[in-house]
């Protein structure tokens, strides 16, 4: 039955397209992380002030992130698109914090 065959082909193509789309979407959904690294000289109040200014986070969130940096040596302070991650990283570096971007594992 030609109609059924066509329908099967169409379905197979759709499946393939969906798989390709699915793979692509998984790939692009891996976010880029902005990392802030601990250093021995920067006052804690400066780190909090910079987080507030750059990201607009609440005081509590900024303090929590600052303490994570202090105790664990680094913290992910933002995740998302690569271009925005790099732009945030630049802002943090301009404000004198040690930061970098990396792709989420």
């Amino acid at each position: 039955m030609p109609t059924l065959k066509k329908l099967r082909n169409a379905t197979a193509e759709n499946d393939l397209e969906q798989r390709v789309e699915s793979d692509v979407s998984v790939d692009t959904e891996r976010p880029w992380n902005v990392i802030v690294w601990n250093d021995p000289v920067t006052p804690m109040t400066v780190v909090v002030a910079v987080f507030k200014r750059v990201f607009g986070y609440s005081n509590n969130k900024c303090t929590h992130l600052m303490l994570t940096v202090h105790h664990e040596g680094r913290a992910i302070v933002w995740s998302g698109q690569r271009e925005r991650a790099e732009a945030y990283c630049v802002k943090l570096q301009v404000a004198g914090l040690q930061s970098s971007v990396e792709r989420d594992a």
Binding site: D39, P40, V41, T42, P43, T45, V46, V48, A49, V50, K52, R53, E86, A87, C89, V90, K91, Q93, V94, A95, G96, L97, Q98, S100, V101, E102, R103
Partner: protein
């Protein structure tokens, strides 16, 4: 009770309460940041240009250009407002960013990358670091 070096006023401006000695220190620090940004041979130049994406051999040139431009703008604005008694919010932020950049550059240029290295640093260098930290502590309290 020690007087704060920077105070946020009700009108939003930040009052600078540094005496001549304090302003002299700040002037020298700001000048170093401007020089470090412009002169590739300056001891602070490398610390002013750390990698953005360490997994890449080269960073995006637009991002590095944006960083150089913003760092230089902050330092130049800070230099231009050295004699002001009251700073706008943006000017005060330029002071904070430039002082913090100077603090980190001082540490990096002297190999102070850990608490142990900081503890064993020469007294003169520690004094320099403590002065910058005190300025920053008071200024950050305004934000």
């Amino acid at each position: 009770m020690a007087t704060k070096l920077f105070v946020r006023r009700r009108d939003g401006r930040v009052e600078v309460r540094l005496n001549d000695v304090g302003r002299g220190i700040v002037r020298e620090v700001f000048a170093h940041v401007v020089a470090g940004e412009r002169d590739p041979e300056h001891e602070w130049h490398l610390s002013l240009n750390p990698p953005i994406n360490p997994s890449n051999d080269d960073d995006d040139p637009l991002s590095t250009l944006a960083r150089q431009s913003e760092t230089a703008s902050n330092a130049e604005l800070a230099v231009m407002t050295l004699q002001e008694q009251y700073l706008t919010d943006s000017e005060a932020w330029a002071w904070l960013s430039t002082l913090q950049v100077a603090l980190r550059s001082t540490a990096v240029a002297n190999g102070i990358l850990s608490d142990e290295k900081l503890e064993s640093a020469p007294e003169e260098l520690l004094d320099e670091i403590h002065i910058l930290q005190q300025f920053l502590f008071d200024l950050a309290g305004c934000f």
